[in-house]
Symmetry: C2
Subunit: 250 residues, 2 copies
DNA sequence: CGTTATTGTAACAATATGTTACAATAGTAA
DNA sequence: TTACTATTGTAACATATTGTTACAATAACG
């Protein structure tokens, strides 16, 4: 979320660059809904501002000469440590009712930053929403140097979020559901190798409904985008499932 | 497009409000791809700045306390005279390479406006793209008071457009194609009553490929969203087609 | 080895879509 | 009135996709 930026910077910069917003586009932010998958659950990466008890999406601003998409990549990489992430712009949030400077004021106060009423961070912001799908096992949630946390939260048990961040997440999930079949993005939530059961549980969790095993398997194999890698010995008393790998047929 | 705004205002305002950008969000614009349908062709509403020979999408800025979506509605209504339009945000364009102040400089010069290099209209802009589907027969393309034109252009014969407006149109069409079945938006391009042939030609034109008549008709009727209104006597020597009407089953 | 639980897949059913064909019919002209 | 023409509405069948059931294959366990 917006706040993340001022904590992205060394302290000098907060009183310097962030003071007048120089170097960034004003009134515009990027927020990222970073999805992970673990234990048959969708997870979302959230930042916590302990002083204020506020939770927020990781986000930031656009540098004066930076591509919007590059800003999004930078923000997601900053939080996950990952490169080559599946990242997709899904909606731009511009309701005036989004505007609520109180949480930002509280945080700046807690940080000991003097904020005049017309401080750029206290103005209205329009936010471009990006959704990211990452391999939960590879991501390294990284908080800022300054005392906030960055952790995975279960999508079904989200804390109360700042501003309209909850509806940003809802819209991201909705987008994911609508484009899942079309774009075949589900793989991005899994490690490189996975079983058909893993993949099905990703689909079921995203769509929020059970799928028919035989039909799902037939369809996925029929797409010709799965490559059989090996058997996976689970240690359980039944047939071992195969491990598959996603192959991009260009 | 961006430029449209300064021509939306009476002359005093240009030297007043538009001068420092007060009353608008800075660095953010809305551009609208307004689609119409006529003679089996998709049309797009474009503005022409005669002094400079530049063509552009209708667009504008977001007022300080205005919802982003309301700004888009305002901009489209301003150009078409229509209310209750199908309007959909489709993408936000934020590449730095979009930034090119020369056309704006030229236009301001032609208007006799002195523009210092740091004028807000000469800074970098990020644009939220909206697509609108309107009834070609009802729209009333409306240029500004100040000497530019506003007309329909055939999508297959677009003039050279300012900045990246051509790729904005391309992306809008792409979005339309991908969501046509899902969202059933094709009706918005037709008058309230239409024949199955009319509807099919809308679909064929948007998708850019012929559809099978029998299958198309069966599917459309099967959706249960068409209401039979009357017969349409075409004056031709063959069976008269039915007129249908779109009904929103809520 | 049998038992157990799960996987891979075949087989059939139901649904959706592609294709062909034909009856219905508004205008035209004998 | 009555053929004739071109297009519409729809049935009928073929093919493709998806839903459903069933069953063989098999890794671990006793």
């Amino acid at each position: 979320m917006i706040l993340a930026v001022i904590f992205n910077m060394p302290k000098e910069v907060i009183t310097e660059e962030a003071k007048d917003g120089k170097g960034f586009m004003l009134g515009l932010a990027v927020d990222a809904v970073i999805f992970g998958f673990h234990d048959r659950q969708l997870k979302v990466l959230l930042l916590e501002y302990k002083q204020t008890g506020l939770f927020a999406l990781p986000g930031g601003f656009i540098r004066t000469k930076e591509n919007l998409n590059d800003a999004a990549t930078r923000i997601v990489t900053r939080r996950t440590g990952l490169h080559n992430i599946y990242l997709q712009q899904f909606y731009t949030f511009g309701d005036y009712s989004r505007y609520d400077p109180t949480p930002m004021k509280a945080i700046m106060n807690a940080k000991g930053i003097k904020a005049p009423a017309d401080h750029w961070l206290l103005q209205r912001f329009i936010t471009v929403g990006y959704l990211a799908l990452v391999d939960f096992t590879k991501a390294l949630p990284t908080p800022d140097a300054i005392s906030d946390s960055c952790r995975w939260y279960d999508l079904n048990a989200l804390p109360v979020l700042m501003q309209d961040h909850r509806s940003i997440i809802d819209k991201a999930l909705e987008t994911l559901q609508l484009t899942l079949d079309q774009k075949l993005t589900g793989f991005n939530l899994l490690p490189e190798q996975f079983t058909m059961g893993d993949l099905q549980s990703v689909y079921e969790t995203i769509l929020g409904k059970p799928l028919i095993r035989a039909a799902f398997q037939r369809k996925m194999l029929g797409l010709g985008i799965l490559e059989l890698v090996a058997k996976k010995m689970t240690g359980k008393a039944h047939k071992a499932p195969y491990l598959y790998r996603f192959i991009n047929k260009t």
